[in-house]
Symmetry: C2
Subunit: 122 residues, 2 copies
DNA sequence: CGCTTGAATAACCCGATGGCTATATAGCCA
DNA sequence: TGGCTATATAGCCATCGGGTTATTCAAGCG
């Protein structure tokens, strides 16, 4: 899977509150499918579907303990998504900082020269 | 919109490569709808829909310049999503570190005592 | 072996999403 | 005013996503 497809899968997986709740639960330790089903008013197959989505995104992996399939979190995919967001967040934060600096500069220097057309309107 | 719904919208918005490309483009500065449409083999209405999704997620905002509607990035929503991921990523990284420490401890102390049943299998 | 339990799969429903074309709206300009 | 340009909206269609129930598969146990 290429980077774009991985991001697609990861963000799509994170876009559902049930799946985020499952991840939150797994953050406290491994759990089986039935354990994960319990807190929700959803059927077991519904949870299995969610788990499959999370697994495809690489956010969880599953072991085998007899008939049980304990799930655990995989930090790697999270790291990728986090890195993506952080990269842009920083970039944009920088841009805003620069823009603010420019505005401050203009304001301080000569308020009357500020052009009203194409107002920036932040 | 509550926190869960905001995360839903943000992650769902980020789960599409076209929308991520739009954000990447906007990271280099404001752009109008037609400018954003140009690089893609998509119709203008398709891009308008994507922009609406991004706007609902709070990832972009739009100004007005005559008939043009320049789009720009909003860092706040990104920050929220990034914070969410980072929180869990750290938590899990911690857990793994601890698990690794435990395993190292066991191995160093008495390799023969490691139970083979319910193998951890990382 | 046959039963019971944990989990996955199948088949289906329905609303949301993403794409299109055609059309409407909005604002400038002659 | 009429016309041109930028964008939004409407209406349509195909696919996807999340839910269900019913069924199947897998593994331990009497």
């Amino acid at each position: 899977m290429n980077a774009a497809a991985r991001l697609d899968a990861t963000f799509a997986a994170l876009a559902d509150p049930t799946r985020r709740a499952i991840l939150a639960r797994l953050a406290t330790g491994e759990a089986t499918v039935t354990e994960l089903t319990a807190p929700f008013q959803l059927s077991q197959p519904a949870i299995s579907k969610h788990l499959k989505v999370l697994e495809r995104a690489g956010l969880i992996s599953r072991g085998r303990d007899a008939t049980r399939r304990p799930c655990r979190i995989e930090a790697a995919a999270l790291g990728e998504a986090s890195a993506y967001l952080e990269r842009y967040r920083r970039l944009w934060a920088e841009r805003f900082t620069r823009l603010d600096a420019v505005l401050d500069e203009l304001k301080a220097h000569d308020p009357a020269t500020r052009s009203p057309k194409k107002a920036v309107k932040r």
